[in-house]
């Protein structure tokens, strides 16, 4: 059967067909849909872990215990998971194990660009790079077969375009795999120094065998055409290159990219006059090709950042950009993403951004959008969980410098469970006095609503223990804990005043569900009037001062003809933030 699938769907399909039984992940664009799709197969046990390190370790455990397992993450997630991954490479698998990394050339939804192929090389883990959805299926299946044969985990390196592009795939049936027997085997699974030293030697032996396999892998193939131009490409760049250089050029398509096939590369380079290396981000293949003594053109011509889409390649090669329609660009207005109507972050950031002499240490989530107008309420963002610990460092520095400046840290519920907990332990243990705000919107929002330890539901939709953030932070030792409704601006102000006056650390939990969330029965019971009303402007009272618009709600706009503000009925969910901002009491509830 043929079907159109995204790369993420196809990775999950490949895992299903390969007989995978266990999967774990933490959500992160563009990898999130892999586990979401895995969780739809009844044959696969799939779970959301609190972070990528935990996901990796659980998947290692399932493999050691005999099942085929998969762990998926966005590129920066691999930084979190790297600690177990490097030693896992030494141990080798029992049931096959595939680690999917979704890299983001172009940084559509990420804080950095990093080429995780470097991880495969550094950790000595075999790697495959699919170029379309069919290859996602084929490579996942091959990774389990080869991984069990060569005793290695596999990394599959995706990029945003492979993850989120759809192409046609051919579906096959699932191959049921009997669990492998677990036996006590400390020489393989207990990485004490004495054992690890042996495993380290074996690791290089394994890589040599894999290098020999790489030469003959069907995923590395020459397509010989005209000898003038030869292109070596991996991932989606193979198709980008074909778009630009056409069917007549020669190609070396590399899909098995760690270890790289040295012999095949030398042979290809000897057959063509000029070699272009097309790969997104780092000169990973290029450096290897040059080590082989082959001449090639790579990053001196093509950028090491952003996507290498066909127009980018064409401009690099020809020196001129594609012809486009010229128009008056001064007519363009920006359209940056914003907080949705009813977003529970709005009330908090609207008030927080107006505080003087505070530093706001932010984190990764929808709330990072508070950095922009109209809030300008974020002064730093690094990585998941960093808000609390970066904030503690900054607060200590300000205290040592003798400044009165206070640090407020801000992160979401899922981010707190991810890596914020350790940071808060540090804050309490080392006697910091930061104000720490946990934006508890009852879901993992930015990535499209995945459950987390605070929601009371698993990835499969089963009910589970709901871990209460206020219980957790009290157990850590925070004495000043406030749970507030962020849509109530007075409550926001009063709580901030109280906490900023303290010499000890405090936690404010702003609790209101994401406006886009599918509410659980517990949500409906806990939060009264949960988005069941609408706000409306009384044109008699509205003086057109536009103060309410500074709260940044996309449901509101200024009507130039009437000189009044109006509220889009289809978007408004009645959060009442605008009602409290209006100085003329002109916004009320729709009858």
């Amino acid at each position: 059967m043929k079907k159109l699938m995204t790369g993420d769907e196809a990775i999950a399909r490949g895992a299903y067909e390969a007989g995978v039984s266990y999967a774990s992940a933490y959500p992160g664009t563009p990898s999130t849909e892999i586990l979401e799709n895995l969780s739809t197969y009844k044959e696969i046990y799939a779970e959301w872990a609190p972070n990528e390190k935990v996901a990796m370790e659980s998947a290692i455990g399932a493999s050691v215990a005999g099942l085929r397992s998969m762990v998926s993450m966005k590129h920066v997630g691999m930084n979190v998971a790297a600690d177990p991954m490097f030693t896992w490479a030494y141990m080798g698998v029992n049931g096959g194990n595939v680690i999917v990394t979704a890299d983001e050339p172009g940084m559509f939804s990420s804080q950095n660009e990093q080429d995780n192929r470097n991880y495969a090389k550094a950790a000595r883990i075999a790697m495959l790079e699919p170029s379309d959805s069919q290859e996602c299926i084929d490579m996942v299946k091959a990774a389990y077969e080869l991984g069990e044969e060569y005793d290695t985990p596999f990394i599959i390196r995706m990029t945003t375009r492979v993850c989120h592009s759809k192409s046609i795939v051919e579906l096959s049936d699932r191959k049921e795999i009997a669990p492998k027997e677990w036996t006590k085997n400390p020489a393989k699974y207990v990485c004490l120094p004495a054992i690890a030293r042996n495993l380290r030697v074996k690791l290089d032996e394994r890589m040599k065998k894999l290098a020999a396999y790489s030469e003959t892998s069907p995923f590395n193939r020459m397509e010989m055409g005209d000898k003038g131009v030869g292109v070596i490409a991996s991932g989606v760049c193979y198709y980008y290159a074909k778009e630009v250089f056409g069917e007549n050029a020669s190609y070396l398509k590399l899909g098995f990219t760690n270890p790289l096939p040295a012999g095949l590369i030398r042979e290809f380079c000897s057959k063509v006059d000029k070699v272009y290396i097309l790969e997104e981000n780092d000169p990973y293949i290029e450096e290897f090709v040059k080590q082989q003594g082959c001449q090639c053109v790579g990053k001196e011509l093509f950028p090491a950042w952003g996507e290498l889409t066909p127009d980018v390649i064409r401009e690099c090669v020809t020196g001129t950009p594609n012809r486009t329609i010229e128009f008056d660009r001064s007519k363009l207005i920006g359209r940056a993403p914003t907080f949705c109507a009813g977003c529970p972050h709005r009330g908090l950031f609207y008030r927080l951004g107006r505080r003087k002499d505070i530093m706001i240490s932010g984190d990764i989530g929808c709330y990072t959008l508070a950095a922009g107008k109209p809030y300008t309420a974020m002064d730093s963002t690094v990585c998941m969980g960093a808000s609390i610990s970066l904030g503690a460092g900054a607060q200590r520095a300000f205290n040592m410098e003798g400044k009165d400046r206070r640090v407020v840290t801000v992160l979401g519920d899922s981010t707190f469970f991810h890596t914020g907990i350790n940071s808060l332990i540090n804050t309490v243990y080392n006697k910091s006095n930061t104000v720490n705000i946990i934006l508890d919107n009852r879901i993992t929002g930015m990535t499209g609503h995945q459950d987390n330890p605070g929601t009371g539901y698993t990835a499969k939709g089963e009910e589970t223990t709901l871990i209460k953030i206020e219980d957790l932070v009290r157990a850590i030792g925070v004495k000043h804990v406030y749970v507030i409704n962020p849509n109530n601006l007075q409550e926001v102000d009063e709580t901030l005043d109280k906490c900023l006056a303290l010499t000890e650390p405090s936690v404010i939990i702003t609790r209101w569900p994401c406006a886009l969330k599918k509410f659980s029965k517990e949500d409906k019971a806990e939060f009264e009037s949960l988005f069941i009303t609408r706000n409306v402007v009384d044109p008699e009272k509205c003086i057109g001062c536009r103060k309410c618009l500074k709260a940044g709600c996309p449901a509101m706009s200024y009507d130039k003809e009437t000189k009044k503000v109006k509220i889009n009925r289809a978007q408004c969910v009645g959060c009442d933030v605008c009602t409290q901002v209006c100085p003329k009491d002109a916004i009320g509830k729709e009858a």
Binding site: F108, S167, Y240, I325, P554
Partner: protein, 190 residues
Amino acid sequence: MTKSILLVGVGGQGTILASKILTNGLMEAGYDVKMSEIHGMSQRGGSVSSQVRYGEKVMSPVIEKGKADMVVSFEKMEALRALDYLKEDGALVVNNEEIPSMSVITGDEEYPADVLEEIEKHVKPRVVDATRLARELGNEKAANIILLGTIIRSMGLEQIDWDSILEANIKPQFLDLNRKALKAGMEAVG
């Protein structure tokens, strides 16, 4: 010959469903098809786009600047922004809908009154009142299917069995509305 269609709009306007139906229809008709979208942060009221390419054998899933055979914009400003992608002789359909961005709402920028005029200086767009037409059909949200209808007619894809594709992708209670919407879209571009 591979054909390229770019659908652009604002998060929440239904570009993804329209391109899903379009690509499924193209696949059923025997074409090779690729589609590319950017999800994630841009969903939150930002500009969104779906890129659809079809033909005998499609290589790149993304459309190059200056190479789209057709651009369908669900919103006026997004049409102007997408002109970079339209071929000089490409087809442009614009939904006559103005959605203020946050910078306009807060008063930091002004939505220019002459967006369509600026577009018309360079190409001949087909301006369709898809949102109004959908409202008249009973639900503003069907504007995406009206715009899909404009693609089908403009690209000469009427021979595909769209009725069964709609049936497979749309909830039964909205099927009748969307059938009417598709027809209205086709008629809107003649």
